[in-house]
Amino acid sequence: MVEPVRSALWLGEVAAASLAGGVVGSISGLGGGIVIVPVLTVIMGLPIQVAIGASLVSVIAVSSGAGSVYVKDRVTNVRIAMFLELSTALGAIVGAGLLAPILQSHTRVLYILFGLVLLTSLIPVLFKIAEELPQGVQNDRLATRLKLNGSYFDHRLNRTVEYNVTGIPAALGYMFSAGIISGLLGIGAGVVKVLAHEIAMKVPTKVSTATSNFMIGVTAAAGAGVYLHRGDVMPFIVAPVAAAVLLGAYLGTKLMERLSNSRVRQIFAGALGVVGLEMLSRGFGWRL
């Protein structure tokens, strides 16, 4: 084959994976790495570090691209995001600054533990898989104080949905752990953020994923230094990734706002299972 054609096909392959990653990432609130990492490593045979570098760029691009739509449409709860980011950011500093030097040689164990935790947390999600909107949720004290309850216009139900927010102390714990995991393993840990919104705070699923989507960009940007420094952010990979993932994220937002909360939760549950298995495979060193 002529060389320029091969190059174009290669770029097309990266872009196709990223387009799909952008759609899934923007709906599930996880940011695209979930599709991009396996495609780049398993199908295209690139090293895992390079795939993770691409995933970092993807997370920031999806978070910003989809975020601009979800925030403008008021699906994202900006107050929840800002308040919980405090806890995540603190966790990331503790994880990277204090724990990473101690636990550095045990990354594989950490991946396995994280994978097991994620697969276990599938259970409460599956329990309420068909639930459209959370019922009977009362604001807890902190939620009232911080004005965290909110409302969004649901295009599927064709009405404004008001929701209360509970379980803030537990959510702060989830977010702190999410930060620690990001600091230790250098991953966005978007799954933990969605779980905090879904399981602890009991907000509607679309608000959960949109708010997580909004938060992961900041966490990823805060940890970007390592990847840039190591040279894992490779120009001919991240450029097509960023462009295609942005387009995918835009399509994803249009789709998500029209889906039911229950469907969005199903997509998230699927993604959660995949991420859990992916973490186990990294821990055990399986080549999928």
Partner: protein, 157 residues
């Protein structure tokens, strides 16, 4: 079900709290204000949305420009694309690359701008909370988020 009076009173005009949300919400306009900012002022949501969009579109355009420049100058092979790494992320090195029309350096600038986007969003939100929404609590919360984000950006190197 208790609605937060502070957040809803200006819209509901003192409608009894005992009303169920499902009934109460049907008459509302799609874009409901959840913040307590004065009407007509900039809301943090709009400012955040605008800054994210501007940042991501600019950075992705710069990256695509870098890709285009690379292909126009001497099209890289798959082998080269798989192995071109190590942007020099010192700003001076990046700048001299860009001035020499080096495609990968231009992509590097785009990556830089992309990483700055969410951080700029936090900074701009902080200012909006403080000045436009007059919400001191959230301005302080956002300040700490910004400070810790910058600390970890420096710490993680």
């Amino acid at each position: 079900m208790a609605l937060d009076v502070e957040a809803t009173s200006e819209l509901e005009n003192g409608v009894s709290q005992a009303r169920r949300p499902a009934e109460a919400t049907e008459q509302r306009a799609p874009r409901v204000k959840t913040s307590s900012g004065a009407p007509g002022r900039l809301q943090v949501q709009d400012v955040a949305a605008w800054s994210l969009r501007a940042g991501v579109i600019t950075s992705v355009s710069v990256m695509l420009l870098g890709l285009l420049v690379s292909f126009l100058r001497h099209p890289p092979t798959v082998q080269q694309m798989e192995h071109t790494r190590n942007f020099d992320y010192r700003f001076t090195a990046l700048l001299s690359g860009i001035l020499h029309g080096d495609g990968p350096s231009i992509v590097g600038l785009g990556v830089f701008l992309l990483v700055l986007t969410p951080i700029a969003r936090v900074a701009i939100s902080m200012v909006t909370f403080a000045i436009e929404e007059k919400d001191r609590l959230y301005a302080v919360i956002t300040f700490f988020v910004l400070a810790m984000t910058l600390v970890s950006l420096i710490l993680l190197h």
